[in-house]
């Protein structure tokens, strides 16, 4: 039982079913009374010491009759399930694995079975085989098998398309072996779920037929259905009888249903990235810290000033900090690149500015001061609630994300989606909105805006969809655009156009851009300043020119050396040994230390601060590096 990993509810349900099953199958040995034994003096008695669940109209013990009745029920369920599984799973596997005409044929049969008016067929089968429960249950199983067939076929198809199955095929394994090694194990779960749900249905159907007197009449013996019928006849005298007779049905079906749900809810073992982004109220710190004054950049207060930003997400053993103590600024109209590899935390930082951290994630410390256009008020993005974010999102900060095709609602036309966003930020008539829609589509350089506005997202190419996504982000005239890997999913030629567009928009609209990327080429093309993120920390900050010409942090330097564009051809590519440390094992000192060839014991003696570095002559100010050896390493 434990290996099945059932939830507590599942265990209770399973336990209950086991008890009922044993009681029913063991009825001849366990029942306190003979089910037909009458005692008219004790008719319709409520629960008592002699009769735990009372008696019926003829004084027969209800508990005993329920136990014998259970026997009928479980046999019927077994018969139905047998046919259900053999037909449903068998045909489903064949259809899913073989495909082609076999699939089409089986699907045709399946649709036919599904469309049959079930009860009519059952009634007729009952007429053909009176009092033969097996035939009726087999018919029920056959008619419902398309449900299991569909599920089985779906899973088989899905698994067949999995890359590891393709690899197995290309390893030379035969179809049979692949079936056994890869497909059948994946089917066990879904089939179990469906079997439980169907078993529940079978219990209900069997008891309905029995209730109507069409199967197992009372003269043959007790069944749960005919016991309810019996109770129905005497409701005016005694309502109690309805309770145990209905109760056993409800509880059994409930238990089967719960087991079905429990089997379904078992977590998949593959660690799939959770993409359920839901807004969360950021964790409020216990004492309001003093808000530090934002540093000035080039004499003016920056548009966005992030200080000490710390973000945590839920983990299996409690919250895990994935971003710690991040500082950086974005000036108005400037393009700042947040650059790092996967797991660096750069996406978290970007999303936190809009309050769009994944489910359960929250900012646990730090500030993100955002100045609005007029310059008068400042909000702390790290402290906003959902309602307050609604005023910021789209209107003052926009977002463009990585996958253009999945960032648009597939059910609405482009024009309609744009108009909705436009009117959300600025009340205007429908006609005005329509004009603005066309204006925006032209701004993002889409040829034939009229036509695009009428199209659905699935009709757009990747590049067009990304332009639409940018237009949607611009609809509210934001001062800052957060671009989260905006070109990663696009072809290189389309990427160049989109980067060009972003550069143009930045210049024309005076909009600041926070560019999140892992691609150093993209950063070089679009960025003005770079913020290098490693293992949840900022390790270096400089102008883009400085950072490519003269990287100071060993990580930045090694990363640039490993870049295939810069590495000399002919020798092997320079590598960085080791792996990025996972957030669960972070330590206070330099997190790059295990992989750094220049490491010294000083590096892990304590937390390393992000400090200004003296720039070379001609370099710009505002260079920050988190390395105790930053100065020394230059001199080499």
């Amino acid at each position: 039982m434990k290996r099945l990993g059932l939830s507590p509810t599942g265990l209770v349900a399973a336990g209950f079913l086991l008890v009922v099953l044993l009681a029913s199958l063991g009825a001849p040995l366990l029942a306190p009374y003979d089910p037909e034994q009458q005692d008219l003096t004790a008719a319709l008695a409520g629960p008592s010491a002699e009769h735990w669940l009372g008696t019926d109209r003829l004084g027969r013990d209800v508990l005993s009759r329920l136990m014998y009745g259970g026997h009928v029920t479980f046999i019927a369920v077994a018969e139905a399930v047998a046919v259900y599984v053999v037909l449903g799973a068998g045909l489903g596997i064949l259809a899913g694995y073989l495909g082609g005409w076999v699939d089409r044929l089986i699907n045709g049969i399946s649709d036919l079975l599904l469309a049959l008016p079930g009860i009519i067929i059952l009634l007729m089968v009952l007429a053909v085989f009176p009092n033969n429960g097996a035939a009726t249950m087999a018919a029920l199983g056959a008619m419902t098998s398309p449900v299991l067939l569909r599920v089985t076929r779906g899973v088989t198809l899905a698994v067949r398309e999995e890359l590891y199955v393709r690899a197995a095929r290309l390893s030379g394994l035969t179809a049979g072996r692949i079936m056994v090694r890869h497909i059948l194990p994946r089917l066990a779960g879904p089939i179990t779920v469906q079997v439980f749900l169907f078993a529940a249905t079978a219990v209900l159907v069997q008891s309905s037929l029995s209730f109507l007197g069409l199967a197992t009449p009372e003269t043959v013996g007790p069944s749960w259905g005919n016991m309810v019928a019996h109770a129905a006849a005497v409701t005016s005298q005694d309502l109690w009888l309805a309770v145990p007779t209905g109760g056993i049905l409800v509880l059994t079906v409930l238990a089967l249903g719960l087991l079905g749900d429990a089997a379904r809810a078992r977590p998949a073992r593959r660690a799939a990235p959770t993409r359920a982004y839901r807004p969360v109220v950021p964790a409020v710190t216990s004492s309001p810290p003093a808000v530090p004054g934002p540093a000035t950049v080039n004499g003016a207060a920056p548009l966005l000033s992030v200080r000490g930003l710390t973000i945590a997400v839920p983990g299996p053993d409690g919250p895990v900090t994935v971003v710690r103590d991040v500082d950086f600024d974005v000036a108005a109209g400037e393009c700042v690149g947040l650059i790092g590899e996967s797991g660096s935390g750069k996406t978290m930082i970007a999303r936190s500015l809009l309050g769009l951290l994944p489910a359960g994630g929250a900012v646990t410390a730090g500030h993100a001061l955002f100045r609005d256009r007029s310059g008068s008020t400042t909000v702390d993005l790290a402290r906003l609630g959902e309602r307050e974010f609604a005023a910021i999102r789209g209107r003052r900060i926009g977002l463009v994300s990585q996958e253009p095709s999945s960032s648009l609602d597939p059910s609405f036309r482009v024009g309609s989606q744009l108009a909705e966003v436009i009117r959300r930020h600025e009340p205007m008539s429908r006609r005005q909105a329509r004009a603005r829609v066309l204006e925006l589509l032209a701004t993002v350089r889409l040829a034939d805006p009229e036509r695009v506005a009428r199209q659905y997202p699935h009709e757009l190419s990747g590049g067009m969809a990304q332009r639409v996504s940018i237009a949607l982000a611009l609809a509210g005239n934001p001062a800052l655009l957060v671009a989260d890997e905006p070109t990663t999913a696009l072809d290189v030629t389309v990427q160049a156009e989109i980067l060009d567009l972003l550069r143009d928009l930045q210049a024309r609209l005076g909009m600041a851009v926070l560019l999140v990327t892992h691609d150093w080429g993209v950063l070089a093309d679009l960025g003005e300043r770079a913020v290098v993120v490693y293992a949840g920390q900022v390790v270096e900050q400089a102008s883009v020119d400085d950072i490519y010409r003269d990287p100071r942090h060993p990580y930045t330097r090694r990363l640039l050396e490993a870049n295939p564009h810069r590495a000399p051809v002919g020798q092997g590519l320079p590598t960085i040994g080791g792996v990025v440390p996972s957030p669960t094992v972070w330590w206070p000192g330099c997190r790059f230390e295990p992989r750094c060839p220049d490491a010294t014991p000083r590096c892990v003696a304590g937390p390393v601060p992000l400090e200004p570095v003296g720039g070379e002559v001609g370099g710009s100010a505002n260079r920050l590096v988190r390395c105790v050896r930053a100065e020394e390493l230059v001199r080499r």
Partner: protein, 294 residues
């Protein structure tokens, strides 16, 4: 065409692939493609999405049917090889896929996955199997105890190494690498690429290296073929194609990829940016935007 030093290991002649069936008409996925690959050599197939580069790889692996043309491997025509012949061929032709997360069954240990090629092609005792698995793992730089763990316990780069180990289990002569490093971080990518080169030197295995990233082609490939919309646009030794592209498309492809050097990038933009003004629907020689599904 380069002068042939020896008979090519793999040879495609006028291969055309079309996924349309019956009344459904589709444009050719791959049209009239010819290429050669000699033993111990790496040929890169470069192109954007829809160029057909993955389809060519799938043709070599036997995953898609060929509508026209021939595929020759080690002197044998394998164009329409089916069933048992294909399974036998898997001894000599192996894949490495792009997705390190999907290519290993998550509920099977590494050993169970690595053993599959052995089960298909050789009869070994359990002890012999263990030995071969350990050997393969050490060859890709992993500890032997990795064999008893599950994929979820490894990083992306490590999983790709495991995929390489699986490909090497039966000593193939040709490995089709379909974007093997595209899903990896830069620092890890270098490790995997170096490993592939090293293995090639040690084992004399040939690579059909499919990628969209022109930059790494220079570090891994001896020759490169550029594809566009199912046709080969240009072939030649890597350095030659990179330094002196003959075709406008190749040139556009190289020019479009941004280089990690802001000054150089600015200069490149000026060169290519003549037509990239702020007008809607720029007209340029590179492939224009088009709606899908037509």
């Amino acid at each position: 065409m380069i002068p042939e030093r020896s008979t090519p290991l793999l040879s495609l002649r006028n291969v055309t692939v079309n996924y349309g069936r019956g009344r459904r008409r589709l444009p050719d996925a791959v049209q009239d493609v010819s290429l050669d690959l000699t033993a111990g050599e790496t040929l890169a197939l470069v192109g954007e999405s829809g160029s057909g580069k993955s389809t060519v790889g799938n043709v070599v692996l036997g995953l898609v049917p060929v509508r026209a043309g021939t595929v020759t491997f080690a002197g044998e025509d394998i164009t329409h090889a089916t069933g048992r012949r294909r399974r036998e061929l898997t001894r000599h032709i192996q894949p490495i896929f792009q997705d390190p997360y999907g290519s290993l069954n998550p509920v099977r240990t590494i050993r169970q996955t690595l053993v599959e090629p052995l089960l298909a092609h050789e009869r070994l005792t359990a002890a012999e199997q263990r030995e071969r698995v350990a050997l393969a793992l050490s060859r890709v730089g992993l500890e032997p105890d990795a064999a008893d763990r599950y994929p979820a316990q490894f990083s992306g780069g490590q999983r790709q190494r495991i995929a390489i180990a699986r490909a090497l289990m039966v000593s193939p002569r040709l490995i089709v690498c379909d974007e093997p490093t595209s899903a990896l971080d830069l620092s890890v990518q270098a490790q995997v690429l170096n490993l592939l080169r090293q293995l090639q030197r040690e084992l004399r295995v040939s690579y059909l290296f499919i990628t969209h990233d022109l930059a790494i082609v220079r570090h891994v490939a001896d020759r490169v073929a550029v594809l566009r919309r199912g046709r080969i646009v240009e072939t030649g030794p890597t350095e030659q194609v990179y330094e002196n592209p003959r075709e406008a498309y190749t040139w556009a492809l190289i020019a479009a990829a941004p280089v990690p050097d802001p000054e150089q990038q600015r200069r490149r933009r000026l060169l290519t940016g003549a037509a990239q003004s702020g007008s809607p629907g720029p007209a340029r020689p590179a492939p224009a935007e088009s709606t899908s599904g037509r």
